[in-house]
C-alpha cells in the first residue's frame, strides 16, 4: 500500500530522484573503488570513499533535524547529542570487538580502563559485545533520551527560544559528562583504535566501501521514511503544529504528542547516522556533543533549505565539501568563508538552495500562466507540495518579541 502510493502517485519527483541516486551511489561507488584498478580514470580512491561516506552520515543527521525543524518548527540545538549517543553505542561495540588485541592484551577491558586501573567492566558495557544489542542501543538510547526529554519539554509547553536553549543545555551537559573519565566512556580521548566490525577489518578497503554503501542506503531509507511521514496526514499535522500550535489543540490534536513522535523518530535517525559515522572516522569522543557542532547542523539544513527533505542533504554535502576544501587549501581563511556563508544564506537565501530553486521555477510557471491566461487557456499551476509547504517562515511563537516582520530583501 505504501510503496504503491509512492511509485504510483509520483507526488514528488525529487524525492524519487534522490533515492535513486543514493541507491546508485551505494552500488557504483564501492564497485568503482574495489573493482576498478587504481590507475583508471574511473577509480574512486579510498580516500574519497571515506570522505563522502562521512558526509552521507552528516546528511542523515541534517535530514533528521529537518524533520523536526523544517516540518515541526522545533529548532533543536542539541541534535548532535543524539548523533553522538548513537556513535558511542556503536563505538562501545567496536571497542568490545578489539578483545585482547588492545595494547595491554586485556580480553575484557578496553585499554583506557586498563591504564586507569579499572578492575572490571562497568555494567553499562555489558551486552555491547553483541552486534544486535549494540544496533538496538544505537536506536534505543537516543530515542529514549528524546522521548524523556521531549515528554517533559513538550508537555510543559516549552517552546521557541526556551526549547532551543534547553536542548543546547542538554548537549552541553552531556559534553561535560562524557568528558569525565569517571563516566567510563574514555573521557576526552573517547573510543578509538577500532579493529573489526562484524568480523571485517574496519581499515580494509572493502569494509570501507561496504560502510559507504550502508550509509548511502541508510540515507535513502531516511529520505523515504521522512517522505512517508511528511506526506501522510500526520505530516500535515506536523506542519499545522509548526504554523499554529495552539490552533491544533483547539481542533482536539495533542500537539505535544505530535512533536514528541517527530522528535523521537528524528533522534533515532540521528543515532543511526552517528553509528554509521563512527566506524568510518575511527573515533568517537565528547567533542561530538559540542553545542557548536549542533549549530553547524542547523546551518547545513538552512543552507540546503529546510522543510524540503533533499535540501538538508544538499546543504550537508556542500558545506562539508567546502569545509574539507577550505581547511586544506586556505586554512587561514576558512572561518571567514564559513561565517560569511551563514550570513549570506540567511540574508539572501532564506529558504535555502532548494527554496531558491522552487522560487525560480514558480516564477517561471507564473509567467507561463500569465501567457496562457492571455491566450485564454486555463492552466492550473499545482503548487509543489513539499517545496512550497515551506513558504511561511516558521515564525509562530518566535515572532512575538519583535512584532511584525520587517522588509526582507530576499523575498
Amino acid at each position: 500500500m505504501i510503496s504503491g502510493k509512492f511509485f504510483a502517485a509520483g507526488s514528488d519527483r525529487r524525492i524519487f530522484v534522490a533515492i535513486v541516486l543514493l541507491v546508485a551511489a551505494a552500488i557504483v561507488v564501492p564497485v568503482l573503488n574495489v573493482a576498478v584498478p587504481a590507475g583508471s580514470a574511473f577509480h574512486v580512491p579510498p580516500y574519497m570513499v571515506a570522505l563522502v561516506g562521512k558526509y552521507l552520515c552528516y546528511a542523515l543527521l541534517a535530514l533528521s533535524l529537518d524533520l523536526v525543524w523544517g516540518y515541526c518548527g522545533i529548532l533543536s540545538l542539541g541534535h548532535g547529542a543524539f548523533f553522538a549517543l548513537g556513535g558511542y553505542a556503536m563505538g562501545m561495540y567496536l571497542m568490545r570487538q578489539i578483545g585482547s588485541r588492545g595494547v595491554y592484551g586485556n580480553p575484557d577491558l578496553p585499554d583506557f580502563m586498563v591504564f586507569l586501573n579499572w578492575k572490571e567492566l562497568p555494567w553499562f558495557w555489558y551486552g555491547f559485545d553483541q552486534f544486535w544489542f549494540a544496533a538496538l542501543m544505537v536506536m534505543l538510547v537516543p530515542g529514549l533520551l528524546a522521548l524523556v526529554f521531549g515528554w517533559f519539554a513538550f508537555r510543559s509547553r516549552v517552546t521557541g527560544v526556551y526549547l532551543s536553549i534547553i536542548t543546547q543545555a542538554m548537549t552541553y551537559a552531556l559534553l561535560l559528562a562524557f568528558f569525565r573519565n569517571d563516566m567510563g566512556f574514555g573521557g576526552n580521548n573517547g573510543l578509538t583504535d577500532f579493529k573489526d566490525i562484524l568480523g571485517f577489518n574496519v581499515q580494509a578497503n572493502a569494509t570501507r566501501s561496504a560502510l559507504f554503501a550502508a550509509s548511502a542506503i541508510a540515507l535513502a531509507l531516511g529520505v523515504f521514511v521522512t517522505w512517508l511521514i511528511v506526506s501522510s496526514k500526520f505530516g500535515k499535522l506536523l506542519i499545522a503544529v509548526r504554523n499554529a500550535e495552539s490552533r491544533t489543540r483547539f481542533l482536539g490534536w495533542r500537539a505535544e504528542n505530535v512533536k514528541l513522535f517527530a522528535f523521537t523518530v528524528s533522534a533515532v535517525m540521528a543515532g543511526i547516522a552517528g553509528a554509521l559515522y563512527v566506524p568510518q572516522v575511527g573515533i568517537i569522543n565528547p567533542g561530538e556533543f559540542d553545542p557548536g557542532n549542533s549549530i553547524e547542523v542547523v546551518v547545513w539544513t538552512a543552507v540546503g533549505g529546510r522543510g524540503t527533505i533533499v535540501g538538508p542533504i544538499i546543504g550537508a554535502l556542500l558545506v562539508n565539501a567546502g569545509k574539507s576544501w577550505f581547511t586544506g587549501a586556505l586554512p587561514e581563511l576558512w572561518l571567514f568563508a564559513l561565517g560569511g556563508l551563514f550570513v549570506a544564506v540567511t540574508l539572501f537565501l532564506p529558504k535555502g538552495i532548494v527554496g531558491l530553486w522552487d522560487q525560480w521555477r514558480d516564477a517561471r510557471a507564473q509567467r507561463q500562466v500569465s501567457v496562457a491566461a492571455e491566450a485564454g487557456t486555463d492552466i492550473d499551476p499545482t503548487p509543489p507540495k513539499i517545496g512550497r509547504a515551506q513558504s511561511g517562515a516558521p515564525t509562530g511563537e518566535w515572532a512575538k518579541p519583535s512584532g511584525g516582520p520587517e522588509p526582507q530583501p530576499a523575498e
Binding site: 504554523n243 500537539a255 511561511g392
Partner: protein, 248 residues
C-alpha cells in the same frame, strides 16, 4: 441555577493577570441548542472568557461546566475540543502553509492520535463531507489554494468551515464577520442560524447589524462581568450599556 439542561455553565468565574482582573465573578449560562450573542467594549473579557471555556486559561476561582456535568477546569484544550467545543478565533487562525482542503482534512472529527494519522487514508465519507463543507463555505474553487493566499473574508469562511468539519456540540465564534462585505455578513448570519438547528453557539461580535440579524439573546460584558442581558433592543437601551459604549 441548575446545571442540568445547560450546555455551558459559568458561575462566579474570576481570573487575574498580574493583578489586572480580566474576568470578575462572571456568571453565564447557555442552554442546549441556544445561540447567544456577546457584545462588549474592548477589554471587557470576551476573549478571556473563551480562553477559559476552551481550557487555554485556568480561572482563579469559579465553576465552569460543560453539558451540565463536565468540569472544564480539569481538562486541557485538546480534551475540551474532543468533548465537542469548537472555537473560531477573533483573528482568523488557519494553517497558512496548507491548502484549504488540507485545513479541512485536519479538522474533520475522528481519531486524534498519532498512528491513525500516520496511516490515515481518506474514506469516501470524508471526501463527501469535505466537498459539502467547501460548498457551504463557497471555497470550492479554492480547494487547492494555500490558506495564506486567501483574502481575510475567505479565511473567516475557512475557519467556519473548519468548525463545521469538527462538528462540535458547542461553537464559540469570535467576530466571524470582521472584514466581510454586507452580503457575506448576511450569508454568515444565515449559516449560523442554520448551524444552530443542531448545535449550541456563542457568538462574540461588534457588528450590531449582524447581531440584529441573528435575532438572539444578547449578553453585554464589561470589565469581566455581565453588565446587561436580554434582547438586543433591551440591552441597547440599557443606560449602563450606553454609558460604557458612548460615555467615556
Amino acid at each position: 441555577m441548575s446545571k442540568s439542561g445547560t450546555i455551558l455553565y459559568l458561575d462566579g468565574v474570576s481570573v487575574a493577570f498580574d493583578g489586572f482582573r480580566a474576568i470578575n465573578k462572571l456568571s453565564l449560562v447557555l442552554d442546549r441548542g441556544e445561540m447567544r450573542a456577546i457584545i462588549g467594549p474592548n477589554g471587557a473579557g470576551k476573549t478571556t472568557m473563551m480562553d477559559i471555556v476552551t481550557g487555554k486559561t485556568r480561572p482563579d476561582e469559579g465553576e465552569v461546566f460543560f453539558d451540565g456535568q463536565v468540569d472544564l477546569t480539569r481538562h486541557d484544550e485538546a480534551e475540551i475540543a474532543m468533548m465537542g467545543i469548537g472555537r473560531k478565533f477573533q483573528k482568523p487562525t488557519v494553517f497558512d502553509s496548507h491548502t484549504v482542503e488540507d485545513n479541512l482534512v485536519l479538522s474533520l472529527n475522528g481519531p486524534r492520535s498519532i498512528f491513525p494519522a500516520l496511516f490515515h487514508r481518506r474514506s469516501a465519507e470524508e471526501a463527501r463531507r469535505i466537498d459539502d463543507i467547501l460548498g457551504v463555505t463557497r471555497l470550492g474553487d479554492k480547494r487547492g489554494a494555500l490558506a495564506a493566499n486567501l483574502s481575510h473574508g475567505q479565511k473567516q469562511w475557512l475557519e467556519i468551515g473548519m468548525l463545521l468539519a469538527q462538528d462540535p456540540k458547542l461553537l464559540l465564534v469570535d467576530e466571524p464577520v470582521a472584514g466581510m462585505t454586507d452580503a457575506e455578513t448576511e450569508e454568515t448570519a444565515r449559516l449560523l442560524k442554520d448551524i444552530n438547528q443542531t448545535h449550541s453557539i456563542i457568538v462574540v461580535e461588534h457588528d450590531m447589524h449582524f447581531v440584529r440579524e441573528l435575532g438572539v439573546k444578547v449578553t453585554c460584558l464589561h470589565e469581566g462581568a455581565v453588565l446587561s442581558e436580554g434582547t438586543l433592543d433591551f440591552v441597547s437601551s440599557d443606560e449602563r450599556v450606553m454609558e460604557v459604549y458612548l460615555g467615556r
